[in-house]
Amino acid sequence: MESKHLRSPIYFVAAAVLLLCGRSLLAVDDSACLECHGSKQAISDAAGAMDLKLTPERIEQLVRHAPTAGTPHAGIACLDCHPKADEIPHPAGLLKESPCVVCHENELNQVNKSAHRDPKGGSDLRAPCWACHQAHDVRAVKDPNSAVAPFNVASRCLTCHDKGEYLIGVHGQAVQLGGLDFAATCVSCHGGHDILAPKDAGSRVARRNISFTCGKCHGRVAQAYRASVHGAPLTASDNPDVPTCVDCHRAHGTQDPLLPRFRLSSPEICGRCHRNKAMMAKYGLSASVYNTYVADFHGTTAELFRATSPDQPLNQAVCYDCHGFHDVESVRTAGDKVIKERLLVRCQVCHPKATAAFLSAWTAHYEPSPTKYPLIYWVQVFYRMVIPGTIGFFLVYIAVDVWGRRRHRRSS
């Protein structure tokens, strides 16, 4: 039977006060530890007394201070995590096994299911807690001095992961240079304790989840993408060929898509897939769209302009000026008539005098053939025969002439 006293509100309040203030009331005393670990001088003196030879770096590592007041770990004593440290000299294996689990069991459970877990199933995590949070000066995420504050996240992850291009990407620059704490850090896309490898279906950056992850900030863009010819097949059937956000924008070195440089390189981005004959054949699409674009006035200009002034704005049409970007639609959806109407509107943006007849001055990415654009085809065939024919005739005549003249010179 429970005592009635235990349920009395006064009892609860007293217990709560004790819990909340306990740490400060029962102030921990680390002074014994700090006697040696409080300064470099103290450490080297102690090491000298014990005949230990320590490198200057090691000495620096061993200097410790009590957790700053106001940080979450203030009030945790050295011995809480290093219980054997009261033996002098300290024995090996000073750190208590899984010291963090005492208070942070949920987080550790998450890590044990994440990509950072011990591959052997033990407690030897690939990334132990202190790899990210630091061992001693642990602070809350919102504390700007925290090791896991947005500004510092990249430096923690980049210690092991070779993804430095994040720092020159638009997100890394926003965080590092722009001081935007809400711009994406590693954790924003990959998660923290529950991080999973991209190949894991449950990962935030698995192919079919990427648009949702980016969509946390870029909501309308992600929505348009998921309805597009590229996004819909991914959601519907895990299509392995369609691009996700990162295939065009890059995952880490994300470029500002409003920069002229991105605009000028965009045909090359589309061309990566739309030039691939095997991939396009799967969907009955033409793999010559890129080459016909570059052979066209728009593409020729963009290609040559990009080579000389990649950072200057150019008004020539690139793929997405006509096809759209996040909301790309299949040319088969709307039908020929509607497409022509829409196309004329697009043409008139730059060619105000364009009429419906002007549309015929474009092969719609088709390569001329005897049935499609036969006039162009036959002109091409004509020159394909006349050029080698003429030049071949010239060369044969010249060869005979050279030979004949040599013969006559020798005989005369």
């Binding site: 302009f305 007849a357 002007f358 015929s360 091409q380 050029i387 003429t390 002439d401």
Partner: protein, 271 residues
């Protein structure tokens, strides 16, 4: 020192100036045109980089193309004037004798004939090149004019013609360039180092080998003399040329597209 061989006047200042304009125009058009035909190639990008960007390359191409078009028109007018008004011969026009000369030269080269053909002022090789040049220039000027104003032309005839013109412009350009590289370079740089088109004079030895018929006439003191100018011929000539010039000006006025200038077009994304 051996005495300097006698040199015979072959070209006048008019010929020399004509050739210089053609030389600069042709080379300039090849240099600024080929990168536009092969934009994906590294050398094309290098040429554009050296010349200062694709817009400048296009501007030079259009400028030289216009000069070459004017030269073609001038040449036709000049030919009409000399032939129809001054009643002079047209020595560049091929005749049956040129085919005979051609066969004779081949027979001589392979050893079936003992004598090379005796040719007049212009041999078959020069006539062939001249005709190819005039034909090629006409094709390039006409197709180029089509490519310069695609929006306006599409109101007159199917847009496919403009694209066919683009194919022809590129094909003809390669044909012309390779022809110069083979035929022209062989005959005036390798077979003989012939500088007559720059200084107007040719060594008598080369003259005797390549133009024996003309040399014999020159030795006899025969000179082609233009006929007296007749008023009605001049009037017809003037009427034709003025009409043609007016037609060209009217056409260019119709073709101009003030709303489509490059600086009035908004760059998408940068409004």
């Amino acid at each position: 020192m051996s005495p300097r061989p006698e040199r015979i006047r072959r070209f006048t200042a008019r010929h020399i100036a004509n050739h210089w304009v053609m030389l600069i125009g042709f080379l300039g058009l090849v240099i600024t045109g080929m990168p536009q035909k092969f934009p994906a190639e590294m050398w094309a990008k290098g040429v554009v980089l050296i010349l200062g960007g694709v817009e400048r390359v296009r501007f030079i191409h259009h400028l030289l193309g216009t000069i070459m078009a004017l030269q073609l028109v001038w040449h036709v007018a000049e030919g009409v004037w000399l032939h129809l008004v001054r009643r002079l011969d047209m020595p560049m026009i091929p005749k049956l004798a040129d085919v005979r000369d051609f066969m004779q030269q081949i027979r001589f080269n392979v050893g079936l004939a003992s004598e090379p053909p005796a040719m007049d002022r212009y041999g078959f090789a020069e006539k062939l090149e001249y005709l190819a040049l005039v034909w090629g220039t006409a094709v390039m000027v006409l197709t180029g004019l089509l490519l310069l104003y695609p929006v306006r032309w599409s109101a007159l005839f199917p847009g496919e013609w403009i694209l066919a013109a683009k194919a022809a412009h590129g094909g003809e350009a390669i044909l012309a360039f390779l022809s110069i590289l083979t035929w022209h370079v062989y005959f005036v740089h390798i077979r003989h180092w012939n500088t007559a088109i720059f200084n107007g004079k040719l060594d008598v030895e080369a003259y005797a080998e390549e133009h024996p018929l003309e040399l014999r006439r020159l030795r006899r003191g025969e000179q082609a003399t233009p006929a007296a100018i007749q008023g009605w011929r001049v009037a017809v000539f003037a009427l034709l040329t003025v009409t043609m010039a007016a037609g060209v000006v009217a056409l260019l006025y119709w073709l101009r597209s003030p709303a489509g200038h490059i600086w009035t077009i908004q760059v998408p994304g940068l409004q």
